[in-house]
Assembly symmetry: D2
Homo-oligomer: 358 residues x 4
């Protein structure tokens, strides 16, 4: 259910409707738009009783949302969600392409800084690097953990790059939330509903990767899990799906981009590194992703991929990353985008968000 407020509704009227929804036993989700605010209602099993919502002051109309996902749906919020990073000009969603780059795993301070310097110089605004790695084998390198988080915090201080890294469970979620700017939930955890709900109690952006065999609806429902807890800053990310095809490690499904954009207001990035598993596929598929209209890219870059502790064969060299940036910069205007080169930090590089679990 969705309460659409009148354009001229006051903050008091909006608050009054929210309060009333709580009294009814549901949860209000105010979604401010360019024209007017809409208030999503969740917390119901089955049909919401409309009560006298329609008669309240400032209410334009009350609409049933037919999709299984509500808060993630364009029915509830027509404008694209744009995620801002306080103290900087960086955004995810909207006109600017967001470029996330870095190694699969943080292996050492030297390695991380060497790569960060390169990707910053080429104009990335976000740095990625695994601190906690979901590995198929219990005997494989599992990441440096907190040490990696500390290294990435230094990288933020040094280069201004905002940090995105994956959380695997409650413990790492709390730490990642404390140290990073965006918490990543990986493909294998896309339906770890407990972790999604906990991420939903954060008040900071969450990047949610599509599961290896997730349908569009399941993907948006996973986002809905996060949003239903009050965290509306969800970034989706396509990273390839499982099919019979064997020329790439996964089959990168670029058609999910326009499909998401039709049904949801959330931004969607594309990860051609995991999506193909092959270095020589990354540049062409990165171009393709921007051309179909993705809101940005997530790219594995390594200065010495042959020595990487994980995913070396899919990591591109810094020179390739620089070329990729040049190519997508040219494609950007064709899809009404811009590629901002780098990030401008306006204030002291302190971690701006509130990472406590609500």
């Amino acid at each position: 259910m969705l309460v659409v407020m009148k354009a001229q509704a006051t903050a008091e009227e909006i608050q009054a409707v929210c309060d009333h929804i709580e009294v009814m036993g549901y949860r209000p989700h105010p979604m401010p738009g360019a024209q007017r605010t809409a208030i999503g209602i969740t917390g119901n099993q089955g049909e919401v009783d409309r009560g006298n919502l329609e008669e309240m002051s400032g209410v334009a109309e009350v609409i049933r949302v037919s999709k299984a996902y509500k808060l993630a749906s364009r029915d509830v919020k027509e404008e694209d969600t744009i995620i801002h990073f306080a103290g900087t000009d960086a955004t995810i969603g909207g006109r600017n392409l967001a470029i996330v780059a870095g190694p699969c795993s943080i292996e050492s301070r030297e390695q991380a800084f060497a790569i960060a310097e390169k990707v910053a110089a080429s104009g990335a605004q976000f740095f990625r690097g695994g601190a906690y790695k979901p590995r198929t084998s219990p005997y494989a390198f599992q990441g440096l953990g907190l040490d990696a988080l500390r290294i990435m915090a230094e990288i933020r201080d040094t280069f201004g790059l905002r940090i995105i890294t994956e959380a695997l469970d409650n413990e790492s979620l709390d730490l990642v939330a404390e140290w990073a700017d965006v918490v990543q939930i990986g493909a294998r955890n896309m339906q770890n509903f407990s972790l999604l709900k906990r991420a939903g109690r954060l008040r900071m952006p969450v990047l949610l990767k599509r599961g290896m065999s997730a349908t569009l609806d399941e993907f948006l429902m996973a986002a809905e899990y996060i949003m239903s807890e009050g965290n509306y800053e969800v970034i989706l990310c396509e990273r390839g799906v499982r099919t019979f095809a064997d020329h790439t490690r996964n089959t990168l499904d670029l058609s999910i981009v326009p499909a998401v954009q039709k049904h949801s207001h959330l931004p969607i990035l594309v990860d051609p590194s995991h999506g193909t598993g092959k270095r020589d596929q990354v540049l062409p598929m990165a171009r393709g992703a921007v051309a179909v209209g993705a809101d940005g890219l997530m790219i594995e870059v390594h200065h010495q991929p042959e020595k990487a502790l994980s995913d070396g064969p899919q990591s591109i060299y810094p020179e390739q990353f620089a070329r990729m940036m040049d190519e997508i910069e040219q494609i950007a205007p064709i899809v009404h985008r811009e590629l901002p080169r780098g990030i401008h930090v306006e204030t002291a590089a302190t971690k701006p968000h509130d990472s406590s679990i609500r």
Copy 2:
């Protein structure tokens, strides 16, 4: 790496080898077999240094295990793993077919008892019922939680049935471990490595469902995660995979049964209810599962499936369950199995295992 002890090796010799492995910085996993004990070694990154293991007293040979999974592999343990339930004659693995039956979700004490009585009467030894439900939508029925666990404990006391139910996260894992006999890890959590490791620190059986797009290797590696923490009582369960086919909800891949049995000593059940999503597919596919050699079945039964809060269309009626039991009883001897009807509780129905996390 695997240390194979001589047939006549003493308990002291085995202990000395284990101690030595720990001194080397690794973790020993003694696996007693019918003829002799083997000791798996984990905890290494890369190659294990053999040291002077081969010269130790009682050691027959030291073997490199080439598979990515070690403890789950038949190379490490040739005999089938049979899981016993203390104080009863119930087993999973080995000659007896293990039959797990019950509703998708525990909805009420009345519903649970009505179904438990029926499936016990038809000869099930295990009762399943969801207390914590992994639901695609955050707004769907999420299970009765602890109340459901309490109801199932009563069912154990009343009918002797051993209880299998799913844990979704740390909190529910601890509770399920406390109240149930087998902790289930669902398909969506098959690569929730943090949860797998925590389940590995239990000393009670874990039923691990195959992920929707998991390969055989990934499935066995997920089992390896549990085993690498010292919990060797892992039961695998095929429940259908994602394909293009649309006549069933998932495609039940019965060929995984002989494939698992070739490569691993772990028992494997088949769940034709989730595996097909259709009531009229359950009986034929249950027969098929037993005929290919599965160690047992996991079946959703509901006395009023049209009123079920979840998965009604795939739940069979108690009468169908009774017919299924008759049919598979006849197939069992052809694959050198027996179908024990019901469970015999030899001692007071107390929960026998130690559910504390090691």
Copy 3:
């Protein structure tokens, strides 16, 4: 559209309705049943005009068939289709399990006879052997062609086995129709609609294999292509589909068996040899196929599989075939089937059917 005749309708009344349907510009397909005859109507684009069909003598009712497939549907013919082989007691469909066995390719008279003798001794009623092989590579062995057909005709004369072999195109279809008892259309040709129509103009059984990524509807629509030309003796065959799973060459989808039997009256066999691509999977999956209710099996047997020119790794040894027959003989009564051992040829072994294209 379907015209259901009254139980007591005379042959003249049936003929009159068929004539009238032709006058209306459509094609009548009389389908005699145990109780009464139904007449399918095809040849229409869009809705059939009922005209005065309902008022004709002997007509019980006129029914719209809502499925895309008509003649293949149980709506049109409720009783299972049973295909008889004149002069013998062999059938496909109905109570008896039909067992088709033989090598992937006919390589020589000696090889074919050696295998035929063995499978006949174990009780197969049908012999399979490739004369024309659909090979992924143009440089691979393409089959002995007409020589292979002649060898198989000798096998029919010697052992009584009825012959099933694949046709790839018009030329081989005509030859196979002349020499064999059942024309096989392979998985790669399941949507070769031109070949299907030509097979539909034969008046002899056609075995249609499921395409590698065919849905149930597409599979039945392919059968409909054959039937729409007047050939109602279609035998379906599941042989595995393409998925991400890599422990078998294809994923054998046994759930298609009950799905076909629910929606269609056509018999369905299962081919676990192509369906798994692995020798040690053939016996378990053959048992599984019979247990789910398949009308029979198609099995690759080779006396020297290591020397086979094609598909050696999936061919079982004659001794394994004998064991398989023993196992499925025991499963058969549980699913209300019988396994007749061998074929009884009542009359001189001449090729009984009319292979001319209508």
Copy 4:
């Protein structure tokens, strides 16, 4: 096997090597390159005996080709294959993007001309329109056949557009070869090896669509079937594959484009219309295809898609096609391509190639 001739080898030396290969019992396939000619050898079962080829005059070296596909491989021909259309400046492959546009089916002269005029005005060089339609149902519209071919020949005369249309079987192949400029083999016939070989005996371009579940190797092997008969003008076309994903009709696998270009010299187009089955996906995926580096596009355009006899929901409007052309024209230079607008016919618009079967 591949014989690489010296750069300065004469035509006589090349001919002498070809003759010698024939004497050896194999088939020579001379492949002229920018620097030097290579001669592929096929017709062997197993290893080719090198004989004294290496000692022949003009021979630089003799190389074993390890891939299953030989003539389609870049090992045999390093330069991209560019297909020219005599009497025009149109090409497929090379620097120019080739744009094929038109309706799914030719429905009438008026419809075809209305669409052709529009797509020609927007700069397409090729016109597509189904004359013979592979329809899942035998009761669906099957195409206008020869009448459609005649209409398209008129379109060639009127607008200069070269004609691409699908052949389903021998009969339609002969007719399409006679009337069209490019013979299309559809996805369902990608492994109709008999049809492939017959298309290989033509001396005119063949457009080969990827099968719904074809791997890269199978796709290139299907091209090899055509090439092994001496027809080297093969154009590949990606049109989506079968997966579990349900937000598009098929999953368009753009990663096949760089994969083909790495392993083969053949040009590859992308068909986002069939590849997605949704009108609002066509433009973004067309942009994506050009950005990943495809050699061109195949697009369904209809002036009244809501009235189309087939595939209306995936056909775009002429205005959308015009916008698409503008967009990809801007992307082209980024991937070192050009979009020529329209086709220049230099000589009288007669059908230039020899359509007789060799």
